[in-house]
């Protein structure tokens, strides 16, 4: 297990370095020269050259990359070309918002998804299953960003149940903070709840049909005990996998959700920086998002070996 963990750790580090190269080159492929953008359209060539030199843009690309990597490892991503604010401060201010939103959304997705999944498996072929399956089909097919827009209109503006936009830190004001995040988290978590529901249902149906469940029932264990003791434990493996696989979608979804609900998260920062061609910010946010994604996937893989002892022998996820 330790060997497997080290192997995955090394693999992730390698992927991260490669990803940083891709991001670095990608940002340089963006149309528009940042030095010209900073100096303004009518600036004379000397000013542009001076800004270029100050930003290190006149160095060869490999040198620029190594400088970038060295600084990035120390948490220094340079300054915003637009505002002059240090990029690490901008990321530090926005990342917690997105993390809170994503964790909240995933929590809702897992709880709602597993509940619907268990209901669908236990009441197979009866109306509760149709309700649960109908929910997941709806959530998978309806564009959630559209649902978000409608939710702002009806639940927030017309009915006044939720705030239409804005953010309050749950750490300074726990209840108000959660209240502000609830509607965005529900909207963001819906698709993922549907995926969790489908997987939980499938795994639960399999487990409930297994021989050891029949034996347990024959020995007098109640249906409820079987569902919770065997079914849920087995579903947990599947759900962990799904949570890992879904996190990328969740982060991407956060970009859109933040835009709809006006949350000052890293998704908003990404879009703002893309539109203003603020290249130090773009490379920092994309790298941070990617690093988070890689680290989460690593954690999920290692977590398997804890949840499912069989993985320890084969050393590989299914």
């Amino acid at each position: 297990m330790v060997r497997y963990t080290f192997h995955r750790l090394w693999q992730s580090a390698l992927t991260l370095v490669l990803a940083s190269i891709v991001v670095f080159i990608g940002v340089r492929l963006l149309p528009g020269d940042p030095a010209t953008a900073m100096a303004g359209e009518e600036a004379d060539p000397e000013t542009v050259a001076a800004i270029s030199a100050k930003l290190g843009l006149d160095e060869p690309i490999p040198v620029q990359y190594l400088t970038f990597l060295g600084n990035a490892l120390r948490g220094d991503f340079g300054e915003s070309v637009r505002t002059g604010t240090p990029v690490d401060e901008m990321v530090g201010a926005t990342l917690p918002v997105t993390v809170q939103l994503a964790v909240y959304a995933m929590l809702i997705a897992v709880l709602a998804g597993m509940a619907f999944g268990v209901v669908a498996a236990v009441f197979r072929g009866r109306w509760p299953e149709w309700v649960a399956n109908g929910f997941s089909l709806f959530a998978l097919s309806v564009p959630t960003f559209w649902l978000g827009i409608l939710a702002v209109l009806y639940l927030a503006v017309q009915l006044g149940w939720f705030p239409a936009s804005g953010y309050v830190s749950p750490f300074s004001e726990p209840l108000r903070g959660l209240y502000y995040l609830t509607l965005p988290a529900v909207i963001l978590g819906m698709t993922h709840a549907a995926v969790v529901q489908r997987q939980t249902r499938a795994s639960m149906v399999d487990t409930l049909a297994a021989d050891f469940v029949r034996t347990a029932r024959a020995k007098g264990l109640s249906r409820g005990a079987v569902v919770f003791r065997y079914g849920l434990r087995n579903s947990l493996i599947v759900v962990t996998t799904i949570v890992g696989l879904q996190l990328g979608g969740l982060i991407a979804g956060a970009v859109v959700t933040e835009r709809i609900f006006g949350l000052p998260g890293i998704g908003k920062l990404t879009l703002d920086s893309v539109f203003t061609r603020d290249y130090p910010v773009i490379q920092a946010v994309v790298l941070v998002i990617t690093a988070a994604y890689i680290v989460i996937n690593l954690l999920v893989d290692v977590l398997y070996t804890v949840i499912d002892p069989r993985m320890r022998v084969s050393g590989r996820a299914r």
Binding site: T15, L16, L18, A19, V22, G26, L29, L30, P31, L137, L140, S141, V142, P143, F145, W146, L147, I149, L150, V152, L153, V157, G248, G249, I251, A252, G253, V255, V256, R259, I260, T270, L271, V274, F275, I282, V286, I289, T290, Y293, I294
Partner: protein
């Protein structure tokens, strides 16, 4: 594995069994009908739409649905919502098909080669892993930012983001089929790699590729709407369901309708592909389904 399959390569898609299974799945039929409606609406948008999608009628903005001349009402510039939705569906389907094309043209050959030769696999799978290290939409947003907006660029960005998954699907199929009896039989008859891959493995991997395409289509359609909604996809005044939603968000409080119909259209496209794709998977794979 029957003797017939050992001697001849089965052509999995023309089997009447698949069609029969599809027809017997009520949800699949609903999905198929939805797809038919959507495809007809998109393909014949120029014939069905009462107005050009960008034609403004400044005298009649914010018309309610079911007013004379504007079946689904008008938006802030008095543009006919029905016409814009029809052309928007057309744009969505174009982006979806283009994205599938990109994923298939690049992903399928790479998947076949990676499944067949280990040294190719070492390179291709590394690259696929690297691409998967980026969340698909972040990748698409990045590519769209580099290439600029527009329908084709958005489609390419969304298609490229789907390449690694396609590689994985085809690679897995190739690995599985490589060990099957009919491929071993072809080997003993001195069939070369191109013949084995093209004539024996590819036809049998087709069903997996088609199922994956039905997954890519709705993902790309939604992705286009999201990119356009964010301002990185199709550029105004060209009609796109995502742009319509983004526009409608500005004046939802005056009239919600221009924001409702594009969403319904998007939902129907995705629902159609999801239902039909699920049914197709069940019909093609005898192991799944009840």
């Amino acid at each position: 594995m029957t003797t017939a399959e050992i001697t001849a390569t089965p052509a999995p898609l023309v089997r009447g069994r698949t069609l029969r299974r599809l027809r017997r799945n009520p949800l699949g039929v609903v999905g198929g009908v939805l797809l038919l409606i959507v495809v007809v609406a998109g393909a014949f948008a120029p014939l069905l739409a009462p107005y050009p999608p960008t034609e403004v009628h400044f005298a009649t903005p914010f018309q309610q649905p079911a007013t004379v001349g504007f079946a689904l009402g008008t938006d802030d510039l008095g543009r006919d919502v029905l016409s814009r939705v029809l052309y928007g569906i057309q744009a969505s389907l174009e982006v979806g098909l283009l994205a599938v094309l990109v994923a298939v043209v690049v992903g399928v050959p790479l998947g076949l080669l990676a499944g067949y030769w280990r040294w190719v696999d070492a390179v291709v799978s590394r690259l696929a892993d690297l691409m998967l290290a980026f969340p698909a939409l972040v990748l698409a947003v990045g590519l769209a930012a580099i290439n600029g907006g527009g329908l084709a660029n958005a489609a390419v960005a969304l298609g490229v983001a789907q390449i690694p998954t396609m590689i994985r699907v085809v690679r897995a199929e190739t690995l599985r089929l490589k060990e099957s009896e009919f491929v071993l039989a072809a080997h003993t008859m001195h069939a070369g790699p191109s013949r084995i891959l093209g004539q024996h493995i590819l036809p049998n991997a087709l069903s997996a590729i088609i199922v994956q395409a039905t997954v890519i289509m709705p993902t790309a359609v939604l992705g286009e709407a999201i990119l356009s909604f964010l301002g990185l996809g199709i550029q105004p005044p060209n009609p796109s369901l995502g742009i319509m939603l983004s526009d409608a968000q500005q004046y939802l409080f005056r009239t919600p309708w221009p924001g409702i119909f594009p969403g319904v259209a998007l939902g129907l496209i995705c629902l159609g592909f999801n239902l039909f794709g699920d049914a197709l998977r069940d019909a093609l794979d005898p192991r799944s389904g009840s």
